[in-house]
Symmetry: C2
Subunit: 116 residues, 2 copies
DNA sequence: TTATATGCATTGTCTGCCTAGGTATGCAAG
DNA sequence: CTTGCATACCTAGGCAGACAATGCATATAA
């Protein structure tokens, strides 16, 4: 795996909603996409991923339906609700502000020095 | 307060070590410094801050000593150990990689596109 | 039959932020 | 003197969520 658990916590929901909105719709595929897009840095465990998807569904950000697969067992496909799209936009902005705050404090490279 | 608790979790240790290494040495001062440096975005609660400092001390990243204060009660001053400086460097790099991964996935502004 | 890839799910443990309290000192206002 | 406020530290308990481990189901290949 890549990073510490605690790092993932704050960003997982945003990452999941983003990947799903980009057309990766079921768990197994979502996991692999996250791994690819992060170049192996991020890789949520199954015991993290599936509960997270259930949470997002229960909170109304995702809708799911089952479809058969040509290989292996059936897949549970997710898609964003309207509320999910709004949530993604909000989480994206929240992440941006937060990560810039931290990066500015830590003095890491991609901090935006426009402010202060 | 500023951000969601879950966001703070992943970055708090790094932020604390950084602020202390920059010369803000006791809890109350550390808290205010974080608030100032993040422009109010980050503000750990006392029930978060003090246990976090104790953890870092117990793990050997910080050393502490008590000193009297001209105003109010005595202060517990922290400073980084050699191990603490190494830890800060590691956490800084970990944060940079992680935040870039997430930012790249979310497509937020300050992502570095040099890599892929 | 066994192994491997696909695919979803749950249980139990552990970590750690928060809320909500508490303690102590110094000073100013009433 | 008492009340309030800033300074300054600490802790108990609740709760959310990531992880490891395990299990189940389907398909293909050795």
């Amino acid at each position: 795996m890549g990073t510490r658990p605690d790092l993932l916590r704050g960003a997982l929901d945003a990452v999941l909603l983003e990947v799903i909105s980009a057309g990766k719709t079921y768990g197994y595929e979502i996991a692999r996409e996250i791994e690819v897009r992060s170049a192996g840095q991020l890789l949520p465990q199954e015991g993290t991923l599936y509960p997270a998807l259930h949470r997002l569904e229960k909170r109304g950000y995702l809708k799911a339906d089952w479809r058969d697969s040509p290989e292996g067992r059936a897949r549970k496909h997710y898609r964003l609700t309207a509320e999910g799209r709004r949530k993604l936009a909000a989480l994206r902005q929240e992440w941006e502000q937060f990560s810039q705050s931290v990066s500015r404090i830590l003095g890491t490279a991609h901090a935006a020095w426009e402010g202060i």
